[in-house]
């Protein structure tokens, strides 16, 4: 018969088997959200401890990865996000949907406009562009780009409406592209298109 002792052991075993393999993914998202390794480690640690305390609430067979990300997102929003609660004013409406293409494609007859941009893009440029995104946008962009979560999963993880996920992702993308292009122009990899 299963006593408390063996139940505890079972719990531990199933947690190590199902939850711990996701630590790597949790960490890389935590790193991009907190922007530093020590906070990222703390955030992951807290997330895993909380998940373990609630392991009996996790429904076996459901999406463990999304569940862990949801816990982490809640902790991040409560404890790690910037103290200022004022909404960030972001004006992306003037970036039209063909912005990137418009900037790159008409500069030359090159059939692969992306080549111009990518040839010289450095990791640090990408990191900077991501980290400068407003937190709300950064979260959905990371969950989508880095973790490959579906829109619906992101909606559940971040506690958002599906439409909000889509619009934040769209605007986040546009901002990201604009920043990357700005770096490329500043550094002379790409010529600015005359207006």
């Amino acid at each position: 018969m299963a006593g408390p002792e063996s139940t505890q052991n079972e719990k531990r075993k199933s947690f190590e088997r199902e939850a711990m393999p996701h630590m790597d993914a949790l960490y890389r998202t935590a790193l991009r959200m907190t922007k530093n390794e020590s906070d990222a480690e703390d955030l992951v640690q807290e997330t895993m401890i909380k998940a373990y305390r609630f392991w009996d609430k996790f429904e076996t067979g459901s999406n463990c990865r999304a569940w862990l990300f949801k816990i982490m997102t809640n902790i991040f929003i409560n404890d790690y996000r910037s103290k200022s609660r004022a909404p960030v004013a972001v004006d992306v409406d003037d970036i039209d949907d063909n912005y990137l293409y418009g900037q790159l494609a008409t500069q030359s007859d090159d059939d692969n406009p992306e080549r111009q941009l990518f040839a010289k893009i450095f990791d640090k440029d990408v990191r900077k562009a991501i980290e400068e995104l407003p937190e709300d946008f950064r979260l959905v962009v990371i969950l989508s780009f880095l973790e490959g979560f579906a829109y619906q999963e992101i909606a559940e993880i971040a506690d958002l409406q599906l439409g909000t996920v889509k619009s934040r992702l769209h605007r986040g993308r546009k901002l990201l592209q604009k920043r990357l292009l700005d770096y490329a122009i500043t550094n002379g990899y790409v010529k600015e298109k005359s207006k």
């Binding site: 890389r28 609630f54 990518f118």
Partner: protein, 266 residues
């Protein structure tokens, strides 16, 4: 499908969220439209580049030591779990009438017999009053009766960062004021429906959930609640950026989750 339609589906296609029908129609358009094909190629390449760069730059150099630290912590938790006696209580709040009578005089604490459905059914750990951080004597103020004016509600909502609704789930906001509880300025909102009452306390800053409640935690829908049972009543703490203390009276079937602020909509 014209160019605008095709471009409207751009990110859904890249994110593999488009329906099969849309995807087929977009593909058909791209077969005949060089411009859109270039846009798609560029955007797909940018997406792939960013995903790839994000992955390679975000590896965990100390994953093993992180896992090692976690395992140690789990050992501790397991050890504690073997020590803490947990007793299961089927129906701890039998006498609602008495609870309500005392509630009239002692306001919050006793009025806070917590009987919400989703947050209710689990093991109970009762904390004796001596160990409770809750000090009944500090609070003798009784909230004035009557409804809240729109201006008052707006002011409270603004100062307490709590998106206040005049009505939630059939409950009407009947009272809202601020008061000092546990040394912190709190907003106190009372919703009623007939003789069923929900009290919501909101502390807008500086209120830490006491450490000794960490084991008294419940998770509902991925959100964490701490509860505190004392003198046959229950207070539930939930943090959503700011602290929210929730309590309900009279009815264990009241679902308290709609009364919480949600960071996604603030």
């Amino acid at each position: 499908m014209n160019c605008q339609d095709a471009l409207n589906h751009l990110y859904e296609i890249i994110d593999k969220e488009a329906s099969d029908i849309d995807a087929a129609q977009v593909q058909e358009h791209l077969n005949t439209c060089g411009h859109c094909l270039k846009v798609y190629r560029l955007e797909t390449a940018v997406h792939d580049l960013l995903s790839e760069k994000l992955k390679t730059m975000s590896s965990t150099p100390r994953l093993e030591s992180l896992q090692g630290k976690l395992l140690q912590k789990l050992d501790q938790i397991d050890e504690e779990a073997r020590k803490i006696p947990v007793r299961s209580v089927a129906r701890p709040f039998g006498n609602v009438g008495v609870t309500l009578a005392i509630a009239a005089s002692l306001l919050v604490v006793v009025g806070a017999a917590f009987l919400g459905s989703t947050l209710y059914n689990h093991h109970e750990v009762f904390i004796p009053i001596e160990r409770s951080h809750w000090r009944v004597a500090e609070n003798t103020e009784t909230p004035p009766n009557g409804s809240v004016t729109a201006a008052q509600a707006a002011e409270l909502s603004r100062t307490m960062h709590y998106p206040l609704n005049e009505s939630i789930d059939g409950f009407t906001l009947i009272n809202g004021h601020t008061e000092d509880l546990m040394g912190v300025r709190m907003g106190h909102f009372v919703y009623g429906q007939g003789n069923r009452v929900v009290s919501v306390f909101v502390a807008s800053n500086g209120f830490a959930i006491p450490d000794d409640l960490k084991d008294n935690a419940i998770m509902v829908d991925g959100r964490e609640f701490f509860y505190h049972n004392c003198r046959g009543c229950r207070l539930v703490y939930h943090r959503e950026g700011d602290l929210v203390v929730i309590s309900a009276t009279t009815d264990r079937d009241i679902d308290l989750v709609p009364f919480l602020p949600r960071h996604g909509t603030a």
